[in-house]
């Protein structure tokens, strides 16, 4: 298996932009990634794109405006982990030697999707969905359980959002570049007890893209390309196999695989980007990623280790909570942000001396499973 490198990254504007097409958003991100890589778009040998809503031939729709035709193009869907799946798919093709250079894209137009302004539901025929389950409900029930088993408080959950917005205020690409207090987060409208509006990621349009290459190609274009040292994508397991709902077992399993492949331990990681669609889940991910011992997630948050200037900053981009969450784009966007961190290009959010970064994304729910798809990538310089 060959080594795979990130050569360039790009992101579109993030926000509510119903007037902008998929080709426009995806094209902005792809052009930025191609320029960042320093390559010519005609060199691209493969394109993997992901989109959740109204998806059809996303790669071709974007790339035809960039002069890229005739090459293999694949379009994937894996709920919120779709972008990670595009990254993983291109990674495998380069590692296996099928192609030397390609681009992975995630794009979403939430404001023009059928679920614009609604709670994101499971599949139409899903039993729990028919009985009233939606994404915020799932995470609200988990948060209720965290209060019971972990001693978490509504203030802790609010603090995750405060932390995300402290970071987001430093990121010019964030949809919401403003800070909030714990009191303001708690006083915002209740969505599903204990989750308030400011603990939910906003509906967002946007795209992200990553140009990836084999070692031979990468060294021609960059003196210090970022290596994808670990790559994992797993599906969920039966809910009955987990003892409690305060873990998302697939996230822990994806992390274990990525750590093993990369040959790094959780304690080696300098910076993390993860799925914080709802503030409370971040505490669960701390434990599932091994950033702290099982049961210590609340303690890790309260210690400030994951905040600005902490030992292991989590979501220095501002996370989904302040950047926004264009579903399929987020799994690609976390790779972009970790790459920028490892290249020392993150400006005011830069984690000093970051050498090892972890990008995680989870997606989808279905009756009987803990979740649908979980992905972890470990990047190193």
């Amino acid at each position: 298996m060959r080594e795979v490198f990130v050569l360039g990254v790009g992101q579109s504007d993030f926000g509510k932009m119903p007037e902008r097409s998929i080709a426009d958003l995806g094209g902005q991100a792809a052009r930025a990634a191609i320029a960042d890589a320093g390559i010519n778009s005609a060199q691209i040998q493969a394109v993997f794109s992901s989109r959740v809503y109204d998806a059809m031939i996303t790669s071709q729709t974007i790339m035809k405006d960039l002069g890229v035709t005739r090459v293999e193009m694949v379009n994937v869907e894996n709920a919120c982990a779709g972008g990670s799946t595009a990254i993983r798919s291109l990674y495998k093709d380069i590692a296996a030697g099928f192609v030397d250079l390609g681009i992975a894209i995630g794009v979403e137009s939430m404001t023009t999707s059928p679920i614009a302004g609604k709670l994101i539901p499971p599949d139409r025929d899903d039993l729990d969905g028919q009985l009233g389950l939606s994404m915020p409900v799932l995470f609200a029930l988990q948060a209720q359980r965290l209060m019971e088993t972990h001693g978490a408080t509504p203030e802790d959950f609010a603090q995750v959002s405060v932390k995300a917005h402290d970071f987001g205020a430093l990121n010019p690409r964030a949809q919401y570049q403003r800070r909030f207090t714990v009191e303001e987060v708690l006083a915002s409208r209740m969505i599903a007890d204990p989750i308030t509006l400011l603990q939910c990621c906003p509906n967002t349009d946007g795209a992200a893209a990553v140009v990836m290459a084999s070692a031979d190609v990468a060294k021609k274009y960059s003196e210090a390309p970022v290596r994808i040292a670990g790559s994992a994508l797993v599906s969920g397991d039966y809910d009955f196999r987990r003892s409690d709902i305060t873990t998302l077992e697939l996230g822990a399993r994806a992390a274990a695989r990525a750590y093993e492949q990369a040959g790094v331990a959780p304690s080696d990681v300098d910076v993390v980007e993860l799925h914080d669609a709802f503030a409370s889940e971040e505490i669960v991910h701390y434990e599932d990623l091994g950033l702290c011992a099982r049961g210590d997630g609340v303690g890790l948050l309260r210690s400030g280790a994951t905040s600005i200037g902490g030992r292991i900053p989590v979501n220095p981009s501002g996370g989904l909570l302040s950047l926004g969450h264009p579903l399929a784009a987020s799994g690609v966007r976390v790779i972009c942000d970790i790459t920028d961190q490892l290249r020392g290009r993150s400006g005011a959010s830069q984690v000093p001396g970051a050498k090892v970064g972890l990008a995680q994304m989870l997606g989808g729910v279905a009756t009987g499973l803990d979740a649908a798809a979980g992905s972890v990538h470990i990047l190193t310089v």
Binding site: K118, L119, P121, L127, D128, Q130, L131, G132, L133, S134, P136, V137, A140, L141, Q144, R145, E148, R189, M190, I191, A192, D193, P194, Y238, D239, F240, R241, I245, T367, G368
Partner: protein, 139 residues
């Protein structure tokens, strides 16, 4: 007036002893599946026999949802209820507006009610009602 239809076949029924959820139990490994599975989800055996979970459970956790969702107006309550054989079931909870959320561990009892109307027919589904006086079946 047409007869009400169940949300889907084979999930629940009324019995002389009250409503029950319908599950399957693996005669090879003993795992209980809800909804019932033709093949054991744990060990893969096809030796499955039907089993009734009854109507008694215990609340694991609950939340009030303040945004409307499809057929449910804002202010509805849902939760996970632990049933006999350790089966964790997601369901609506019958809690009146303004009433406190029941505490984890509260005994709950199943009821089968018309949940919504579709093509001029009532659709039957299950929900749980707090039954604080009742002994939990598996506690």
């Amino acid at each position: 007036m047409t007869n009400p239809v169940p949300l889907r076949e084979g999930l629940f029924r009324e019995t002389a002893a009250g409503p029950t959820l319908l599950a399957s139990c693996c005669t090879a490994c003993g795992h209980t599946s809800y909804p019932p599975a033709p093949r054991c989800l744990d060990c893969g055996s096809e030796a499955q026999e039907p089993v009734e979970l009854g109507s008694d459970g215990e609340l694991l956790c609950a939340t009030v949802v303040h945004m409307g969702n499809n057929r449910y107006p804002p202010g509805y309550t849902v939760g996970y209820v632990t049933m006999p054989h350790g089966v964790r079931v997601f369901a609506q909870l019958a809690i009146s507006a303004g009433e406190d959320l029941p505490a984890p561990g509260t005994p709950m009892t199943l009821e089968i009610v018309p949940m919504w109307r579709e093509q001029e027919q009532d659709v039957l589904a299950y929900r749980f009602v707090p039954a604080p006086g009742k002994e939990s079946a598996h506690a």
